[in-house]
């Protein structure tokens, strides 16, 4: 069955290819640290099962140490010149947009097709398998159509990865921090403390503490999914639904959306806020959050008003 293990092996090979390319890049300012960074990441994906929890933890600490020393750094991956690219756009024109449709099309087709292929694809991982298959097909089509040097798939991927830099591992690190917070019982403590902030008998104050708690706890955790059970268990269910007779559907559904407003404001939501700033070469790490905050605040007010106005009718 094709599932996560195949994707992890594929990702491990990609990271490993960047390690080799970095090692061979004589112009690279952080050649050894950069190569070690990609090699460790490749080892995590190819052999992490055999390392054990302690081994994986030490590997993670080594990755962070290398990142603090400047890894992965920036080298000189072979790429096209400005004149190469203008010649290419003159030759291919708008057909250059077609390969951009391959990955979405395969992801879309896979979502509908994979469940009909019996046990071939893990039904829980249809989306990610579609993404991986789409990437393989797209690379194959681009290599056959445009005939770049054979190493181009490795070098072009490394060029973008070096642009993102250490933020490459930040989303996975933050997911691990969320797990550690759960082990330490952070959510239970916040859930026990939050009701103390509500004055007796005030419906509006209770709604504000609930939606405010969803937003603030989401900002701190970077993920509304981590905040929801805590705030819903601490305030939403006992105070708003059971205490004040609120509609659980409205409180739950709109409460989650109040949390999403927090995601728009959180540097901890690295996938959405920090990685894009790196992908777009923005000098300000928080530029995307700066662009989002007015929308986030206004929508948080809207969601708070929705619960206040519609959950108690």
């Amino acid at each position: 069955m094709i599932g996560l293990p195949v994707l992890y092996a594929l990702a491990g090979l990609v990271f490993g290819s960047w390690a080799v390319a970095t090692l061979l890049d004589r112009q690279h300012g952080k050649r050894l640290a950069g190569a070690a960074f990609w090699a460790l990441l490749a080892a995590e994906f190819l052999a992490g099962d055999a390392l054990g929890n302690m081994g994986n933890g030490l590997l993670l600490l080594a990755l962070v140490a290398l990142a603090l020393l400047g890894a992965p750094g920036k080298g000189q991956p072979a790429t096209s010149s400005a004149s190469d690219r203008s010649a290419s756009t003159a030759a291919h024109g708008n057909r250059l947009f077609l390969p951009a449709l391959i990955m979405p099309a395969v992801a879309l087709g896979g979502t509908f097709l994979f469940p009909h292929l019996g046990q071939l694809v893990d039904p829980k991982q249809v989306t990610l398998v579609g993404l991986g298959l789409g990437a393989l097909i797209a690379v194959a089509v681009l290599m056959l159509w445009l005939r770049p040097p054979p190493s181009a798939a490795v070098q072009e991927g490394r060029r973008l990865a070096e642009g993102v830099g250490w933020a490459m591992i930040l989303p996975q690190m933050l997911a691990s921090l969320g797990a550690l917070f759960a082990v330490a019982g952070v959510g239970n403590i916040v859930g026990a403390l939050a009701p103390l902030a509500i004055p007796e008998g005030s419906r509006l104050a209770a709604v504000l503490v609930f939606t405010g708690g969803m937003a603030i706890f989401t900002i701190m955790m970077g993920n509304a999914f981590a905040a929801f059970p805590v705030m819903m268990g601490g305030i939403g269910l006992p105070v708003l639904v059971l205490g004040l007779g609120g509609n659980p559907v409205v409180v739950g559904a709109v409460g989650m959306l109040a949390g999403f407003c927090g995601t728009l404001l959180s540097p901890m939501a690295a996938n959405f806020n920090i990685v894009p700033a790196a992908l777009l070469n923005l000098p300000d790490r928080y530029a995307v959050i700066r662009a989002q905050w007015p929308t986030a605040v206004l929508l948080w007010l809207f969601n708070t008003a929705m619960i206040w106005g519609f959950a108690f009718r």
Partner: protein, 220 residues
């Protein structure tokens, strides 16, 4: 009144807030916060390292989308960004406001249909959307500064986020809807995913109105 639990595990959250406020390297902040909360909860140092390692290993799926980078890089090598910019530069009607408004609607509608993976920061924003809005802004304001270029690019990423966040919850089988349903079920309250997703529609419309108004007022 139940007793207030020990507050020491919260030290990790304090470290996160201070670390990000000081703009320390986020990877170092995460490690420090993990040790703060772990030690605060009474774990030993080896136990914290092992718990981090276990979670890092289990969360590898978070990094799988990086498989798209070689594809994007190969397309850029062939001049995709330049072609996107050239197309917009000669299409006068395509202002940066209009491009972002259309993208916002497209992202909300497709996310509401469950098609969250057909676009994203690596797949569409970097190779297509950002070069397009930057080209439109530069065409309509020839003396545009670097700061202004960066602002429209940041707004492109922001628009992708707003579109997906406030579209996806209309789809019945998305993770957040299933989480709400599961949580309420464990408390003995049975609700239908459809009822939950209906209540995502007002906020989706508000998101289009609020963010759309901001995009409309965007100066090139």
């Amino acid at each position: 009144m139940t007793s207030v639990p020990s507050l020491w595990p919260l030290i990790g959250i304090a470290i996160v807030v201070i670390g990000f406020a000081l703009r320390a390297n986020p990877l170092a902040v995460v490690v420090a916060a993990a040790f703060g909360s772990g030690l605060g909860a009474g774990l030993s140092i080896p136990e914290v390292v092992a718990a981090m390692g276990k979670a890092f290993h289990q969360n590898r799926y978070v990094s799988v989308p990086w498989l798209a980078l070689p594809v994007i890089g190969l397309m850029e090598r062939a001049g995709l960004q330049e072609q996107a910019a050239a197309l917009i530069a000669r299409t006068k009607a395509a202002t940066s406001s209009r491009i972002l408004l259309i993208y916002l609607g497209f992202r909300q509608i497709t996310a509401a249909l469950g098609l969250t993976q057909i676009a994203g920061h690596a797949q569409t924003v970097r190779p297509l959307l950002a070069p397009m809005v930057e080209a439109a802004a530069a065409r309509d304001k020839p003396d545009i500064s670097d700061d202004e270029r960066n602002q429209v690019k940041a707004m492109a990423a922001a628009t992708d986020n707003v579109g997906i966040f406030f579209g996806e919850d209309i789809f019945l089988a998305i993770a957040s809807i299933l989480l709400i349903k599961g949580f309420l079920e464990s408390a003995g309250i049975f609700v239908q995913p459809f009822d939950l997703s209906v209540w995502a529609i007002p906020t989706a419309l508000a998101a289009f109105a609020v963010h759309g108004t901001r995009l409309w007022r965007l100066k090139p």
